[in-house]
Amino acid sequence: MTLETGAFWGLAAVLLASSLAVVLTRNLFHSVLYLAVAIVATGGVFLLLDAAFLFGVQLLLYAGGVVTIVVFAIMLTERLVGEGIGQTSRYLINGAVVSVAVFVGVLLFVGQAPLPAARRPLGADVTRALGELLLTRYVLAFELLAVLLVTALLGALYLARTDE
């Protein structure tokens, strides 16, 4: 068992467990924290896949994003201090059946798909390659993304503003 294998299994276990916890915990605040764990674990998976840059971006953006969610979750409880923010699930069985069905379906699909068996060489500097791709082949999408972000920012501001 190589280090990578061990790390993968460990990360996978953490990721799955925390994901399940996100979905099943009754306390919304805990849910968010578990999501943070899941995100960090995902970042770890990125590291295993030699995508260190993505790991950084993942943590940087999600850390802020997740905490923001917490803040809003708390704002919406209208109580600064108190019991955990309760949240319940509905039709859990139905959802589980459908989810498992989708999972099994994907498994079957993957099982027959011709996937590359081994890693192909990725080049020396992935980060540099990413940067060059972003600013050459995908520059239009990159710019559009900037527009999208600005639009989303303005839209969120507009939506969330209080009427005076």
Binding site: N94, V98, A101, V102, V106, L108, F109, Q112
Partner: protein, 604 residues
């Protein structure tokens, strides 16, 4: 030459445009009338000038109209031959006199209404002239319909009177019934010969190169003529059309429009000659119409309706002549009749104007109050009765001669009987209205000059034409010697009978009625033809409407109701899918993903 005809044609049209497009002018009423009169006067002058030009072959001026690959499909133009020359003069003359007459007759109309009247009059003159001058069937049909439209407008001039409005619609629809036949006939003729042009068609007919089997086609064309000229059984509209102003009746329903049918038959006689069966039918129907209308005229008390039936009767004469192969005689009668019947109508109008009623039973001793009107009416009556040497005598004799020459014995007898009856009913009117014992109400007086002058002009013309015909002799037909005496005798007998019945009172009209009770009964009810049409109309149309209504209500609506109910119900069921909760839709997305996976798996 065509330029003169063009002037005659366009002057009334310009007047119409002027009146139609310049509202201030139209609202002035009398001024509008003067414009119209000036235009039609100019047209008369042009027509007279044209009349003096001797015509060898028909002069034709054409312009292209409907283009087609191989030359124009249809042309418009002018077709000038003796027939159209004579018709031009007749139309413009009567139109001019009628318009002048109308100035006084419709004096009490409001100015805008008068302007409208003259606009219609101008349009009518234009239409009629265009009809007369048409060089082909298409142009003829267009103007034919325009004439029908003007007739509708003028009959319904007093559109606020329900009777007038109904009469206008009735006239319109009845003549349209014939026109359907006419246009089908025209198209069939075109398919058979490939042309609409009269000139070409006559050339074909003259060379005997007309295709065989034209009987149906010509019958259909005759249907149009029968509708316009009020031939049995399409005659019902004409008496009702008397709801319009009297000058209109004089113009349209005596001298011009109703003769369009005769004109058509005359114009296309060469084509009709190719279908002898149709000709015979025309003769028989014409004679029967003449007799039928005469009997109805005998029992009618409305002075204008008597004249209307008389017109139907005389149109029957003309048609019979045409059908008997003597179109010249028929056309001659058309011309003479146009003049003296216009005279009679206008005189009757003067009487009505003076007395305020149409019913001859409420008139009497009018000759003393209206001597001038009485004289001209008498002139017209004598001409219509066929008394020598007035114009009617000669044309009628020519018709009888033509029918006799064609060996149509029964029609001849019917026409002879009609001649007798004509004298009877016309003198009945004269005797009752002008010499009757009943005192007319009010203070009747002679017509004002604008009305009187046209009357005198027409009366003089009636006499003059008669004199001219008497001097020149019958050049159109060579009647057997006994025919003259027969005509005179019939007229005299009729007059005598009328005198005995209504003046001397030796013979009681009531007794005559009783003796001819069934005939009298039927004639007073117009032989049930109007009622029959009404019943047919009601039965067919209402029955059909009821059927349509039933189908619509129960079949169409039923199907739709069922469909809509199903849609509603299905929509109500489907609606529940839309729970409004986004998560339920995510289920749909998930199922879609599953379906995609499964399909992709099965596809391999």
């Amino acid at each position: 030459m065509t330029r003169l005809a063009l002037v005659a044609l366009t002057l009334p049209f310009l007047a119409f445009l002027l009146l139609a497009l310049v509202p201030p002018l139209r609202r002035r009423g009398r001024a509008a009338g003067l414009v119209s009169i000036a235009a039609v006067g100019g047209a008369l002058a042009a027509a007279l000038a044209l009349w003096r030009v001797p015509v060898g072959a028909p002069a034709v001026g054409v312009w292209e109209w409907i283009p087609a690959d191989a030359g124009p499909l249809v042309t418009v133009g002018l077709y000038v031959d003796p027939i159209s020359q004579a018709m031009l003069v007749l139309v413009t003359l009567v139109a001019l006199l009628v318009q002048v007459y109308s100035l006084a007759y419709l004096d009490e109309e409001r100015a805008p209404a008068l302007g409208r009247y003259y606009a219609y009059q101008s349009l009518f003159a234009f239409s009629m002239l265009g009809l007369v001058l048409a060089p082909n069937f298409v142009q003829l049909f267009v103007f034919w319909e325009l004439v029908g439209l003007c007739s509708y407008l003028l009959i319904g001039f007093w559109y606020d009177r329900p009777a007038a409005a109904r009469a206008a619609v009735k006239a319109f629809w009845t003549t349209r019934l014939g026109d359907v036949g006419l246009i089908i006939g025209i198209v069939l003729l075109w398919r058979a010969t490939g042309t609409f042009d009269f000139a070409t068609l006559f050339e074909l007919a003259g060379g005997g190169r007309l295709p065989a089997g034209l009987a149906l086609t010509m019958f259909l064309i005759y249907l149009g003529a029968a509708g316009k000229s009020a031939q049995f059984p399409l005659h019902v509209w004409l008496p009702d059309a008397m709801e319009g102003p009297t000058p209109v009746s004089a113009l349209i329903h005596a001298a011009t429009m109703v003769t369009a049918g005769v004109f058509l038959v005359t114009r296309a006689f060469q084509l009709f000659a190719a279908a002898p069966a149709v000709l015979a039918l025309i003769a028989w129907v014409g004679a029967f119409t003449a007799l039928l209308a005469a009997t109805m005229a005998c029992v009618e008390n409305d002075i204008k309706r008597v004249l209307a039936y008389s017109t139907v009767s005389q149109l029957g004469y003309m048609m019979a002549a045409a059908g008997a192969g003597a179109p010249d005689a028929g056309f001659l009668h058309l011309l003479t009749h146009g003049v003296f019947k216009a005279l009679l109508f206008l005189a009757a109008g003067a009487v009505v104007h003076a007395v305020g009623t149409n019913d001859i039973r409420q008139m009497g001793r009018l000759f003393r109050a209206l001597p001038q009107t009485g004289i001209v009416f008498l002139v017209g009556t004598l001409a219509l009765a066929g008394v020598w040497p007035l114009s009617g005598f000669f044309s009628k004799e020519a018709v009888l001669a033509g029918v006799w020459a064609a060996h149509l014995r029964v029609p001849f007898l019917m026409l002879a009987l009609t001649a007798f009856l004509t004298a009877v009913y016309m003198f009945r009117v004269v005797l009752v209205a002008f010499f009757g014992r009943v005192e007319a109400g009010g203070h009747p007086h002679d017509a004002p000059p604008p009305m009187a002058v046209p009357l005198w002009v027409l009366a003089v013309l009636t006499l003059a034409i008669g004199a001219r015909l008497a001097l020149r002799g019958g050049e159109t037909a060579h009647p057997p010697g006994w025919l003259t005496s027969l005509s005179v005798g019939l007229a005299a007998a009729g007059i005598l009978l009328a005198l005995l019945m209504y003046q001397v009172r030796v013979v009681s009209p009531a007794a005559v009625s009783r003796a001819l009770a069934p005939l009298d009964f039927a004639a007073r009810r117009r032989y049930g033809i109007d009622a029959l049409y009404g019943a047919l109309y009601r039965g067919l149309l209402l029955g059909f409407s009821w059927l349509i209504g039933w189908i619509d209500r129960y079949l169409v609506d039923g199907v739709l109701n069922v469909l809509s109910a199903l849609t509603l119900r299905a929509g109500d069921r489907l609606r529940r899918i839309q729970s409004g909760q986004a998560q339920d839709y995510v289920y749909g997305v998930a199922f879609g993903l599953l379906a995609l996976l499964i399909v992709s798996r099965l596809w391999r």
